[in-house]
């Protein structure tokens, strides 16, 4: 394993200094069909691109870029969510190379790319050692397109295999200035923390924050927020509440990660007995959607804080408002349950997922569609890989069904065309058509010659006017005559071969079979989606009921206190008498 690491480091370092050494391809030797596959691929239409590849391969239209096309096929297959098939394709490509002699035509570029994508796939599958071994197979120059990603992957594998010194070396060298740099630093810091090395974790989380300041794009600012929260966590663990509080002060108050940050900030301030600074943070949370767990906790906590500060009237008001909010929240959950039970909702939800996920803030805007009401409750669920897989698989299945529906409609047209061809023309029909047309032709010939004669009786000026019309008519007639002669030569009208008809019928049957299979699979996944979503809604409901009960208890406590005070006051007034 140590050797493998060293090899990886060596590769990362050696390749970093290499010049661009790709030989220019011979532009004249290219396959038009390879270009059409690329056209779909670059637009991320992997399904169409894969079909294009299959069609071109079966027609043997990929003659000049066979290996590049194979590599592309592997990449497309992987992107389309067929990792097992992609693995086979890459391995096939590489095994062919190993078996063949050096002049097999497979360039090092193609080979290296194949090793790279294979390694990347193993990494995503969690097979780190296999990924490292595969990446180490890359030899010679690294293609430009994958150079940065190669270094990144090598560093990620080193992080997973906890070769953190090598990662630090890479960060100080090849990965410096790369777009992946802050992510790698964050991953490294998290790895140090997981190993209990808090000092190094602190240093690297701080680097992520500095990076965010130097590159104030939203992407890096979100990462910096995460780093600040992580630093706060380390300080809390060390009992340094003031340190944690200082880190939390700098987390932005908008965006997905702001809820936990605000709540943590509030709690730290309470622990430090700085109640006045805790209140604004909790109030900010109090304004947000009731579907957020932190907001639910903040509502009760805020009331409790007012109570502790000796402001029973404000506390009571907050408890009452909290109760009303929880009642509304429970209603929202009920409505979310009704929505998910709707027949078409999973499909609409999955199809619109991208658009919904692109929204910066789900809490900010009022949803206009039913299924949007569902999403605030599913944020945590969305971050789970397995649920995300369900959504992705479902999205692909809906796309498959749409494709098969299209072909089912096309199948009707195919049958229509065939029926028409079979019924429309027979040898007899053809003979009759020729006879009729010949008669028409003879009549037209007479009419044209009569028109010609008539034109000759007109004045020279009129003849001059009619001449182009007559010429054009004669040209049209010649065209008709030529076509008629062509038709006359047909001995038997065209008919689809029996073989083609059988092939077509088989394909139409396959469409129906695949539609059934796809529908069954969709039903299974939709049912899983409903179970998981309902379980998540249960969790929300339980949590909300718990805080609702807390709010009721708080309210009752305050009423009791008020009653006791009134009774005590009454007793005090009675006592002197």
């Amino acid at each position: 394993m140590r050797n493998m690491t060293q090899l990886l480091i060596t590769l990362v370092l050696v390749f970093s200094g290499l010049e661009k050494a790709l030989a220019s391809e011979n532009e004249s030797l290219r396959d038009l069909k390879y270009g059409t596959i690329l056209f779909d691929y670059y637009q991320q239409n992997y399904f169409s691109a894969l079909i294009g590849h299959e069609v071109a391969s079966s027609r043997k239209e990929l003659t000049h870029q066979i290996n590049e096309a194979k590599l592309l096929q592997g990449g497309m297959t992987l992107s389309y969510g067929l990792p097992d098939e992609a693995e086979k394709i890459f391995q096939q490509l590489l095994v062919n190379k190993a078996d063949a002699s050096d002049d097999s035509g497979i360039s090092d570029e193609v080979k290296n790319k194949a090793w790279f994508y294979l390694a990347k796939m193993y990494y995503h599958k969690g097979e780190d050692n296999k990924a490292a071994a595969t990446l180490a197979r890359i030899q010679g120059d690294i293609p430009d397109e994958i150079h940065k990603e190669f270094n990144y992957l090598a560093t990620l594998i080193n992080i997973r295999n906890t070769h953190l010194d090598s990662v630090e070396q890479a960060l100080g060298g090849v990965m410096q200035g790369s777009i992946y740099e802050p992510y790698l630093i964050f991953n490294l810091a998290a790895s140090f923390l997981a190993r209990g090395d808090k000092d190094n974790a602190r240093t690297h989380f701080a680097r992520v924050i500095v990076y965010g300041q130097a590159h104030p794009q939203d992407e890096y600012l979100v990462l910096a927020d995460r780093a600040k929260q992580a630093l706060a966590h380390i300080e809390v663990e060390d009992g340094n509440l003031l340190g944690a509080w200082l880190h939390l002060q700098n987390v932005r108050t908008t965006g997905l990660y702001s809820n936990r940050a605000l709540l943590s900030y509030g709690w730290t301030a309470i622990k430090l007995e700085r109640y006045n600074v805790a209140i604004p943070a909790l109030r900010a949370l109090d304004q947000r959607s009731i579907s957020i767990a932190e907001v639910q906790e903040a509502k009760v906590l805020l009331a409790h804080l007012y109570e502790q500060q000796g402001a029973p009237r404000t506390a009571l008001k907050q408890y009452l408002l909290a109760e009303r909010a929880f009642a509304g929240g429970i209603k929202s959950i009920e409505s979310a349950r009704r929505i998910i039970d709707g027949q078409k909702i999973p499909e609409e939800f999955v199809i619109n997922l991208d658009a919904m996920m692109d929204e910066t803030d789900w809490y900010g805007s009022e949803p206009s569609l039913d299924y949007n009401k569902l999403t605030p409750f599913l944020i945590e669920l969305m971050s789970s890989n397995s649920f995300h897989t369900v959504l992705k698989e479902l999205r692909d299945l809906y796309a498959l069904r749409e494709n098969l529906d299209y072909w089912a409609r096309q199948a009707q047209e195919h049958r229509l065309i065939i029926d028409h061809r079979q019924q429309g023309w027979s040898s007899e029909g053809l003979k009759k058509f020729i006879g009729d047309t010949e008669q028409q032709k003879a009549q037209m010939e007479i009419q044209i010659s009569e028109l010609g004669l008539h034109a000759k009786t007109l004045s020279v000026k009129e003849q001059y006017r009619f001449a182009p019309l007559l010429n054009s008519m004669e040209a049209d007639f010649e065209f008709l005559e030529k076509n008629l002669n062509k038709v006359k030569k047909i001995e038997k009208p065209y008919q689809e071969s029996e073989k083609n008809l059988r092939w077509m019928a088989q394909l139409h049957e396959r469409i129906q079979q695949q539609l059934v299979n796809t529908d069954n699979m969709i039903k299974k996944l939709e049912s899983i989606m409903r179970i998981v979503v309902n379980a998540e809604l249960d969790k929300h409901e339980e949590r909300m009921k718990y805080y609702w009960a807390q709010a009721r208890l708080g309210k009752a406590r305050l009423y009791d206190k008020t009653l006791n005070t009134l009774e005590e006051d009454a007793l005090k007034q009675v006592a002197p008498q």
Binding site: F47, L50, Y183, N187
Partner: protein, 195 residues
Amino acid sequence: MTSFRLTNSCISVLFYLIISINSAYSNDQSIDFSEQEKQKTAERALNNVKVLSKEIQGLKKSVVDLNKDLQLMEEELLFPSSTQLSIFVSLDIGQFFTLESVKVKINGKQVASHLYSEKQRQALARGGVQRLYLTNLNLGKHKIVAFFTGIGPNGRPYKRASELEFQKSKGSQFLELAIVDDSAKQEAQFTIKQW
């Protein structure tokens, strides 16, 4: 091909971090707000997806195969190779011309037109080739005219046309409308290539 960013393990470390930061203060976050049995059922259901995933991969592959066969059959039915003509569009670099639309006339009749999106332009510039039009054509002489509109050098609207007389022979025929940067002239060249 998929991209990296935060690794899964680091996401889970992060998730643990932000959960635990609150549980360090209060007990509420550690309360299990769910019925164990229902959550277990949900977990089991999600685990089932891994098994189904293999079946889905098989289904996807067979639908791709079916699409291939259907496309081959449909072309045979509607566009037999004896009369088939395909028109493609390609763009080499595209530094001197931003393609906005293409219009094609065959024998004086407009048969195809296309308006390009940014995504399509990028795909063309990176080496993609678009199949613009597929049709049937009689054997013999024909004339094709292609009109290209877009933005030329200095950001000015640019309109160019290119034409070709060609002989449709037996077998499928391919025409490529090629837009190639000419660095010497600092402008794009528009040609129709016969394959």
